[in-house]
Symmetry: C2
Subunit: 120 residues, 2 copies
């Protein structure tokens, strides 16, 4: 049973938008990701996605509703099916909570897609 320090884990993550696995309780994945600039527009058909900002500031843009801006220590759940685009200006540190196997780019497949999930 190894604890994870968010600070130490993020110190080892250089590449933005490349999530790392921090824990996998109950078939769920807790991932850490560095955000920088704009991600790709996408949605997750059957998956609600929780974003917790642990550093910096993240704006989540939507097609059909007002943006949500998360400061450090704020979280939101993007419901399944809702198209969204995370944007960090300049950057942010994110903790994501979602079912194991969730693809980072949802319904899209592009240069942001990461099929491999390394641990922190």
């Amino acid at each position: 049973m190894e604890k994870v320090s968010l600070e130490e884990a993020f110190a080892g993550i250089d590449e933005p938008w490349s999530p790392r696995l921090a824990a996998d309780p109950n078939g769920q994945h807790v991932k850490l990701a560095r955000a920088e600039g704009s991600f790709t527009w996408h949605h997750h058909e059957d998956v609600d996605e929780l974003f917790l900002v642990t550093g910096g500031r993240l704006r989540i843009e939507f097609r059909d509703r007002a943006d949500v801006t998360l400061e450090e220590g704020e979280l939101v759940v993007v419901p399944r099916g809702v198209e969204h685009r995370p944007v960090a200006e300049p950057e942010a540190e994110l903790l994501l909570f979602e079912p194991a196997g969730t693809r980072n780019t949802g319904d899209t497949d592009n240069e942001y897609t990461r099929e491999q999930l390394e641990s922190v």
Copy 2:
């Protein structure tokens, strides 16, 4: 889609060891709890329990292995079936991830048990 500020949520939580629901993505519960002193020894038969300390310091004691002490910004997963006792001296703010319906005192039923789960 409402965001949750951990700071604002904890400002509204007075009672220790009385978790509040912050989000419920994918049949999971994200709970916030104020910790103060010792909780009760317990285990969760079929549930892994993730603890993330967002303020203060939490020691998790075990019957069969060394304690784990979490500082702010550290997380650990207590595997299903493992008896444990969280202890905060003097206090801590906790974010818990676990399946909906998980009882806070696991296999035990005592003065710490909270069957009702209010939202933050």
